[in-house]
């Protein structure tokens, strides 16, 4: 399959707000990209027209109840059947920030035994508490399972921004260790927060410094940082300090490029 034939759907509902820049990231890489309201997908029954579904950032439904919870329930209620088919066919699903929260609330991540009835994790209030907009470093710790990062060298450090108040990944206390072991055994950990030199750090109190995980198949990927805000060099906070810009792009592009390549190769 050629990149220009790949159809990307950025799915939105009231309160979604990073859809334009997320669409832009896919568009400049040559994919066909559409932003669709959930209501439109329901009306046209068109979810299966797409090769990849993206849940972008924002505050869907005001993040009332818990961040992402209402969108997850709405999606399940309105498009549950199509979603199941989409996932069963191993078509990729990406959740960024609020999108990651939605995937967790839906039970798709971690989803050790496939989609779970109840969420198996939570993305909860940051420690220290409050919204934080800041550039951070991430290390790619995935060994090759994740379709979104398998061409990015292992242990490569990426520079991306975070902007959230509920990004602390949490598992139930009594199962915390086993859960971590399962994540490691199944190669489901993708990104962990680190410093510029690669030493681990943690901007929001998240468990095991985890910033992003994928499902067992590597087809569903959620992360708190915003790769769509790190596409061009001039989006970086330190771009003015560099003498020369060897590439017009920035680290976030790697993730979008990676998934488009994975889809192109597979089909």
């Amino acid at each position: 399959m050629k990149t220009q034939d790949i159809k990307v759907c950025i799915m939105r509902a009231g309160g979604t707000n990073c859809d334009f820049e997320t669409a832009r990231a896919f568009r400049i890489l040559g994919a066909q990209t559409e932003i669709k309201h959930v209501n439109e997908l329901v009306k046209n029954n068109s979810l299966m027209d797409y090769n990849i579904i993206v849940l972008s950032g924002g505050s869907s439904f005001g993040d009332y109840v818990r961040a992402g919870a209402i969108f997850a329930r709405t999606l399940n209620a309105k498009l549950g059947k199509q979603m199941k088919q989409f996932i069963d066919e191993n078509r990729p699903l990406l959740g960024i920030c609020n999108g990651f929260q939605i995937l967790v609330e839906y039970g798709l991540l971690p989803g050790f035994e496939g989609p779970s009835q109840q969420p198996e994790a939570a993305l909860t209030t940051n420690i220290p508490q409050g919204f934080k907009c800041q550039w951070i470093y991430l290390k790619n710790e995935n060994k090759g399972k994740c379709l979104f990062t398998n061409q990015i060298p292992q242990n490569k450090i990426l520079h991306l921004p975070i902007a959230h108040s509920e990004g602390r990944l949490l598992f139930s206390k009594e199962k915390e260790k086993q859960t971590l072991q399962k994540l490691i055994d199944n190669d489901m950990i993708v990104f962990r927060y680190c410093n510029e030199d690669g030493t681990t750090t943690d901007p929001n109190g998240t468990y095991h410094n985890i910033a992003g995980i994928c499902n067992k198949e590597g087809t569903i990927f959620g992360l708190m940082p915003h790769p769509e805000r790190a596409i061009y060099f001039w989006q970086e906070p330190t771009w003015t300090q560099k003498q020369q810009h060897t590439s017009p792009y920035s680290d976030g592009k790697l993730i979008f490029e990676n998934i488009l390549n994975s889809i192109a190769k597979k089909q």
């Binding site: 009231g14 820049e21 309201h37 805000r229 330190t238 003015t240």
Partner: protein
């Protein structure tokens, strides 16, 4: 109580009418007070005459409509009225000093100024930039979270009101000192810390949830803000100019969309135009603050942009101050029409709202659209798809009357020309002679310590903890962020790249110097304008447009009005001198509390453009071994400075402005930036030269050494004054040695080479006595700057 004057209307059970014809003069004043109309005796007399002539009793709905339309907040009476000042008559401050300056400058790139909800300037590829800044002082003082949130909500809808897509927000806050003694706080006044934290939370809640980056702003601390919180919310939008639809005509429908209507925000405009008193405590005023729901506004925004792109509407306006009364009335007036509205069609949050309450409620997230009949169905379908409640409530009419019905029974029927023939008065303005004196104290032996203290002063210290709770990255178009460089130094202006297919950028900056306002309102205003422009120039901004936002005391008091006149005169003079037109503005007057009046505060927002964002200049030093220049002249001007404040003084020598010289300097600097010779550039403001130099150095951890003897000055004979004077129009500039010759030739002696960047990670300054008067490590300076207001110090 003249209760015999109030009569229950027989035709409809929730409307009363007032037998105004037989009211005595005393009773007229009582009616205004009892119905909370906020109308003066003279105005009540005009109303009485009108209703006597038409031989009718006004309904409560009619009186409320007049009250809203004639309120200070809706029609800016003070800025329109005649003023006698120094025996001369000024025919309206707004016209004489603000709009006249713009008219005389006559910039071809101004697309629409002062007429609509926001000012619009041309940008690139057929797009325009719309800008609006609102004051939201009163609600923020009473309920800081809701006040700040709805402030943003309102200004974002102003941008939607000119069919623009909101792309950035700005926020400027004036609060009391955070360490103010609780025991000294009068009853009914909230502690500055409570205000500070909740305003920040409100801004973060609303703009983050709406997905609009907050890219520029300021927080200013002053004792006069304890009783008079000052809050400014700005929004910038982008629109394809050929989709700017404003062609409503009789027969078009009024469609009300967004949130439901409740009792929140009732009579907010009246409350905004009166002094805060003890009675303005929570019980009395809290209902005047609206409740915020950003998600409804997000959906409203989507629908608005779809309707715009498909060109289905003939006009739109925000339902803000004055509610439907302003929205319907002003739309009808603008297009020379009349209007009909059926009030029972307005969707309500709960039943039992009275007709007058429905018409003037300021509930949030509501927008009024004017839709030609043939497009009505399509528009309602779009709203349905976006899950936005939308209801046709009335129509524009040829007949110039405003006719309101409730369940088909008339409740108001007024002549449009009467409502919009707003009474003006002639006001007296005086100016008190300043009694401020210059302090007399010895120059300290050690100047590193005062610099550390200055960096830690709340008005200078880093606000990073607050600013990082605002999303400044969403939309992915922020080129220069609030903090720049590895160590997060304070940028002078934000830069956005709003169009994917253009390298052209938008530069956003602000200027505000309230402390100077305590000494001289004219030079305060001039300084605020220069600071906003200077900040914009520093990053490479050009073709600058200005917005003015006044926060002042009670203009009925002649000396308050006098200082307002002086500030407006500065606006005219400096705007003309710099050829930077005003494109929009807003005033908030009557900011007085039991603690006294607010310090006269003029916020200037400056919007410029850069031809290519890749050439913008940030404030952090780039490399060791580069040259450091200062642009402009330093005067012994420390009146109102942070340095005097540190020493417990106000002083009298407020910074003045030499605009024609500054304009030439700025012009040359812009050329130097355009040619790529400027590596970094930073504006000198609070704390003067020493603070600016420290910020540039610690932002990237590159050392800096310079010599005060080389700093061009007029009679500044002290090291501390050279270091900390706040003279206007000065900037520090870093240049690579290879460009020395070209740069100096271009700047034509207006720049002086004062030092160089080093590898030492230190700031070292030699004084006029040749001694090393400042010798500080960059990490110590950075810590001093960050520790005051931030809990985590990296």
């Amino acid at each position: 109580m003249p209760s015999n004057l109030y009569i229950q209307r027989t035709s409809v059970d929730n409307v009363i009418e007032v037998a105004i014809a037989k009211a005595t003069d005393t009773e007229l004043v009582e009616i205004s007070s009892e119905l909370a109309l906020g109308l003066s005796f003279d105005e009540m007399k005009i109303i009485q005459t009108y209703f006597k002539r038409v031989n009718q009793n006004p309904s409560d709905v009619e009186l409320q409509i007049i009250s809203q339309t004639w309120s200070e907040h809706c029609c800016h009476k003070t800025f329109k009225s005649k003023i006698i000042f120094n025996d001369k008559e000024i025919n309206g401050l707004f016209k004489t000093y603000i709009s006249n300056a713009t008219k005389e400058i006559s910039a071809p790139w101004c697309f629409n100024v002062f007429e609509d909800n926001a000012g619009i300037v041309k940008f690139d590829k057929g797009y325009g930039i719309a800008v609006k800044v609102e004051t939201h002082n009163r609600p923020t003082a009473i309920e800081p979270f809701g006040g700040a949130a709805t402030g943003i909500g309102g200004v974002v809808r102003d941008i939607l009101g000119v069919w623009a897509d909101p792309i950035a927000c700005t926020d400027v806050l004036g609060v009391g000192p955070l360490d103010f003694d609780y025991h000294k706080l009068p009853i009914g006044v909230k502690h500055p810390k409570y205000i500070y934290q909740n305003v920040a939370a409100g801004i973060s809640f609303y703009s983050n949830n709406l997905g609009i980056p907050t890219v520029n702003g300021a927080i200013f601390f002053d004792e006069s803000y304890i009783g008079n919180v000052t809050a400014y919310c700005g929004c910038i939008g982008i629109l394809p100019l050929n989709k700017y639809a404003k062609n409503a005509k009789p027969g078009d429908y009024f469609v009300m969309a967004g949130g439901k209507t409740g009792r929140d925000g009732i009579q907010g405009v009246i409350f905004a135009s009166a002094e805060l008193t003890k009675k303005s405590d929570n019980d009395v005023s809290r209902p005047a603050v609206q409740i915020a729901d950003p998600i409804t506004e997000e959906k409203l925004k989507r629908a608005t942009l779809i309707i715009r792109d498909r060109q289905l509407a003939s006009a739109t306006t925000d339902l803000g101050g004055g509610g439907l009364s302003s929205g319907v009335g002003e739309t009808a007036e603008r297009y020379g029409c009349g209007a009909t509205v059926e009030l029972s069609k307005v969707p309500l949050k709960y039943p039992s709202l009275l007709p007058w309450e429905i018409y003037i409620s300021e509930s949030q997230e509501r927008q009024l659209f004017v839709i030609p009949p043939e497009n009505l169905e399509t528009v309602l379908t779009i709203f349905e798809q976006e899950e936005v409640e939308a209801t046709p409530i009335g129509q524009l009419t040829k007949e110039r009357r405003l006719k309101l019905t409730y369940k088909n029974t008339p409740v108001a029927d007024l002549d449009m020309t009467f409502i919009f023939d707003i009474p003006t008065s002639t006001k007296q303005a005086t100016l008190n002679n300043s009694t401020n004196v210059e302090p007399n104290f010895a120059e300290p032996a050690n100047l590193t310590q005062p610099l550390m203290h200055l960096l830690a002063m709340p008005n200078i210290a880093s606000k990073e903890n607050i600013v990082r709770t605002y999303d400044h990255e969403v939309k992915g178009n922020t080129v220069l962020k609030p903090f720049q460089g590895k160590y997060a130094g304070p940028n002078d202006a934000a830069v956005l790249k709003p169009l994917d297919n253009s390298w052209k950028g938008l530069t956003i900056s602000c200027g505000m110097n309230p402390t100077y306002g305590k000494i001289d309102p004219y030079w305060m205003a001039a300084s605020a304008i220069d600071e906003a422009i200077r900040n914009n120039i520093a990053v490479g901004g050009r073709r600058i447009a200005l917005l003015d936002n006044f926060t002042w005391g009670n203009p009925e008091k002649s000396e308050r009005l006098g200082s307002l006149v002086r500030a407006c005169q500065a606006c005219y003079d400096i705007s003309k001198a710099y050829k930077t037109p005003f494109i929009s503005g807003k005033d908030s007057l009557y900011n007085e509390s039991i603690l006294g009046p607010v310090t006269p505060t003029l916020l200037i927002t400056a919007i410029g453009i850069v031809p290519d964002i890749r050439s913008v200049v940030s404030m952090e030093l780039k490399n060791s071994g580069n040259l450091l220049y200062i642009l402009g002249t330093t005067y012994p001007e420390l009146g109102g400075s942070e340095y005097y404040k540190l020493n417990g003084y106000l002083g009298a020598s407020v910074p003045k402005l030499h605009a024609s010289k500054a304009r030439k300097n700025y012009y040359n600097l812009t050329k130097a930036i355009g040619s790529g010779m400027v590596k970094s550039c930073h504006d000198l403001s609070e704390g003067g030269l020493a603070v600016a130099a420290a910020e540039m150095a610690f932002a990237s951890n590159i050392g800096l050494t310079f010599d005060l003897k080389a700093v061009p000055n007029k009679a500044v004979a002290r090291n501390d004054f050279l270091l900390f004077s706040e003279s206007n129009s000065r900037l520090l500039i870093e240049v690579h040695p290879k460009d020395q010759h070209d740069f100096e030739a271009l700047m034509k002696n207006s720049c002086a080479l004062i030092g160089e960047t080093t590898k030492t990670e230190k700031l070292q300054i030699h004084g006029i006595n040749n001694k090393l008067i400042i010798d500080a490590s960059l990490s110590e300076l950075r810590t001093a700057w960050k520790k005051t207001l931030n809990t985590e110090v990296p």
